[in-house]
């Protein structure tokens, strides 16, 4: 039987990879993908603890995270389309209207 800490370590690793991606890349789409990766690693943690505690709550929270991620992806991608229409780029170093 696989110890639960392996799952948690894997989730930590995926989260760290997602963090590095979200912080170092400049392409808006790739940053978004990294954020999805981070969301998923947290889901893995929740499911692992749900298994450890024999409780359904973790699985249900994952269900809600899934729905929120879907909403977030829809709105975020629509924003990218709107930005791209004006600036012809989604390089986030050049989309700096709201940056101080």
């Amino acid at each position: 039987m696989v110890p639960i800490s392996w799952y948690l370590l894997l989730a930590a690793l995926l989260f760290a990879i997602g963090t590095v991606g979200a912080l170092t890349r400049r392409n808006g789409i790739t940053i978004f993908l990294s954020i999805e990766l981070m969301l998923n690693s947290v889901n893995l943690t929740l499911i692992a603890y749900s298994r450890l505690l024999g409780d359904h709550t973790g699985q249900l929270v994952v269900l809600f995270v899934l729905a929120v991620a879907a909403a977030e992806a829809a709105v975020g991608l629509a924003l990218f389309i709107a930005v791209f229409r004006h600036r012809r780029t989604i390089d986030l170093n050049r989309v700096n209207l709201l940056r101080w």
Binding site: V2, L14, L37, L60, V75, I90
Partner: protein, 194 residues
Amino acid sequence: MIETLVFLVFAGLAVGSALLVVLHRNPVYSTVSLVVTLVSIAVLFVLLGAPFIGALQVLVYTGAIVVLFLFVVMLLNIGREEIAGERSLLQKGAAAAGAGIFLLMGAGLLWRQTSSVTLDELSPELVSLRALAGELFARYLLTFELVGLLLLVAVIAATVLAARTRPGERLSLDRPFAAEVDDEPSRPAAAEER
């Protein structure tokens, strides 16, 4: 034994394709390798006694969200990220921060000694979809309804944001293609301006 093998194979696959997501310069490849990551994580969900969530992960994430990503990547026709030469100090710091987060979480894990906890046998109660649904529609009914509302708001917001309108023009659903006409000539001017 076989469980450990499955775990190792899919954990390796998840980490490898996650690295590809972050490191590849072409967003199409990044998106497709995210599919591999998500499916591997779905397998791990099944291994952890959550087959329904695993199926949902494949359906919702790879079936809907990633396809949406691919649509947008191809619609915008984003090429490879231009190599700006030097990595800035900020980016190096960010990479260090990511590594630090991993180390912190790993250290926290070892400190709490979760590795010594032994799992009890997988109970049919945990896997059962009936029990899951019972809890979802009893204790979390309000949350469930609110998530439905959130999705509705997101759909409306995405439609309004992505719809093509000119300044002063109201969003009209009767003539979805009317705004397309003679939109292109304004493009070169906008490009020069930048």
